[in-house]
């Protein structure tokens, strides 16, 4: 297997000009004084692509995602997001970039005392939308994830799957350019998992770059055109190992 050129996109063919959403250059990450949990990460994420991030537990998937959604700074190396070098950017410069990223957390991270509606509306309100501007898109998004009738329910009264869908609706409500999801189907049944992946695929078709961390090989093989990032012990393994497109179109997609 040929070695991938330094910092080249994971799915770049020779001579291919790409617009990168994220660029990692010799990135390393350690927490405190511990050993590095991520080492020598060199890759670019092509704008509008769909990536799966895989690897065994403890490989550093969540840490890599944290770097992507700006919850963590690298301890070495450079990270560019949307063409801007953000490794050492002042923290005041980060919020506008975070608004361009949707995140689905493994533990949902819904605000417990807010209704499903208010949780989904949060990114729009943070971006300055008025109550009137929020109403329509949030209702539409809740309907899209099948929770139109649960708008006023608070997270503790929702099932795990419903909370997951609220979290996804919140992540995609402002049409992010980059969508990052950490085990988004870990708490739902196979049917719902397929539906959620359908949402991600639809977002991707609209131009959003999607990065999904998952152990679920079924999801990976059921997503045509998706690329694979595999982490082991904090390093990229087989960085040229783009996902072989599944031989058949997925069933029950959407």
């Amino acid at each position: 297997m040929a070695r991938r050129a330094h910092g080249a996109p994971l799915d770049q063919a020779p001579g291919d000009e790409v617009v990168a959403v994220a660029e990692f250059d010799s990135v390393g990450l350690r927490y405190g004084t511990g050993a590095e949990v991520l080492r020598d990460l060199d890759f670019r994420l092509r704008s509008g692509s769909f990536y799966f991030l895989t690897g065994p537990s403890g490989a550093g998937k969540t840490s890599l995602l944290k770097l992507l959604y700006l919850a963590q700074r690298p301890t070495r190396g450079r990270i560019k997001l949307f063409g801007e070098e953000l490794s050492d950017a002042p923290r005041e410069a980060l919020p506008p970039f975070r608004r361009r990223i949707g995140v689905v957390f493994q533990d949902f991270r819904l605000v417990r005392h807010l209704s499903a509606f208010d949780n989904v509306a949060l990114p729009l309100r943070v971006a300055g939308a008025s109550d009137e501007e929020v109403e329509g898109p949030v209702r539409e998004m809740l309907a899209w994830v099948g929770l139109a009738d649960r708008a006023s329910a608070r997270p503790p009264t929702l099932s795990g799957g419903e909370q997951q869908r609220v979290a996804i609706a919140r992540a995609v409500i402002n049409r992010p350019e980059l969508l990052v999801a950490d085990e988004p189907t870990g708490n739902v049944d196979a049917d719902m998992a397929n539906r959620l992946m359908g949402l991600f695929t639809a977002m991707n078709r609209l131009g959003t770059t999607v990065v999904v961390a998952t152990h679920d090989v079924g999801l990976i093989t059921a997503t045509p055109g998706a690329q694979l990032i595999r982490l082991e012990n904090g390093t990229l393994v087989d960085p040229t190992g783009t996902l072989r497109n599944p031989p058949h179109p997925p069933r029950g997609d959407g």
Partner: protein, 289 residues
């Protein structure tokens, strides 16, 4: 600039909980109550000191220790001196009544020598030594003393107490600020999860701060106004008691400016609490990414 004061119900819901909750309004109310009472005392002391100072600054007394047979001549001499504006001889009967408080009936005895006393007002620049020399030529031993010199220690004490009161106001304000900082940090810890989520979706520190700033402003305003109203009731009761006490406390009054200062105090305390909370929250948020 003040848009953060007017947020939608949805934004108010972000921090959850009751509109007026926790110990902050109570702490602020107690601080406001204490500050108002102490400030009112300080202002009343300042007012009294100014009143006393004004009333005696041009007041002098011509005293003849052994008494004077020619009191009328002395009064005419003082009245004719350039710069003297008012002259009043203190009657011997009044002097004896005053002495009676200490000496009892013996004060009325003819064998008790009672000093002669002439009070007079003199404009600044009056040649008092020349006047004293003229008085001594009529009544040897006559001497002029300024009222200010005898009341000076009392005035000094009044002014010292006034500054002690203002110092206490400052200390209580600092204590109120410290309580607000603790309340703000407590609120940050309580809402840490919500803050993390908001940061994660692109909220700026100022957006997060405004939520806390507004809540603490409301808590501080409610608390300081409640404390101020309670203090006003106490002050009114004290004022009516002072009116009954008559001349003993009649001089300790609050002027219009003093009342305006007192009325502004709860709002000043609210602004201080809000600014302190904003600073504390912003500093705490800067520790996160």
């Amino acid at each position: 600039m003040f848009a953060w004061l007017f947020v939608s119900p949805a934004e108010r819901r972000l921090l959850g909980g009751p509109r007026f909750g926790g110990p902050t309004p109570w702490v602020i109310a107690i601080m406001s109550f204490s500050i108002m009472l102490i400030a009112a005392s300080g202002l009343a002391l300042a007012s009294t000191a100014a009143l006393v100072s004004r009333s005696i600054e041009s007041r002098y007394a011509l005293e003849v220790p052994g008494g004077a047979n020619n009191l009328d001549t002395l009064v005419r001499t003082v009245r004719s001196a350039p710069g003297v504006t008012a002259v009043e001889a203190v009657p011997e009967s009044e002097m004896r009544r005053t002495l009676e408080r200490w000496l009892g009936p013996a004060a009325q005895g003819a064998e008790l020598p009672v000093p002669a006393l002439i009070d007079f007002d003199a404009a600044p620049g009056t040649n008092l030594s020349a006047l004293q020399q003229r008085a001594q030529s009529i009544a040897p031993g006559a001497r002029i003393s300024a009222h200010g010199a005898s009341v000076g220690p009392l005035l000094h004490s009044l002014r010292l107490l006034q500054w002690v009161a203002f110092g206490l106001v400052v200390l209580l304000s600092i204590a109120a600020s410290a309580a607000v900082v603790l309340a703000a940090r407590g609120a940050l810890d309580t809402h840490r999860f919500t803050i993390d989520v908001m940061h994660g979706i692109g909220a700026t520190d100022l957006q997060v701060t405004h939520l806390f700033q507004r809540k603490i402003l409301i808590d501080a305003l409610v608390g300081s106004l409640a404390g101020a109203v309670a203090a006003a009731i106490v002050l009114l009761l004290l004022a009516s008691g002072a009116a009954l006490a008559g001349e003993l406390t009649g001089g300790a009054t609050l002027g219009l400016v003093d009342l305006l200062v007192l009325a502004a105090l709860p709002f000043a305390l609210t602004l201080l609490a809000t600014w302190v909370a904003r600073t504390a929250v912003l500093r705490a948020l800067r520790k996160a990414l």
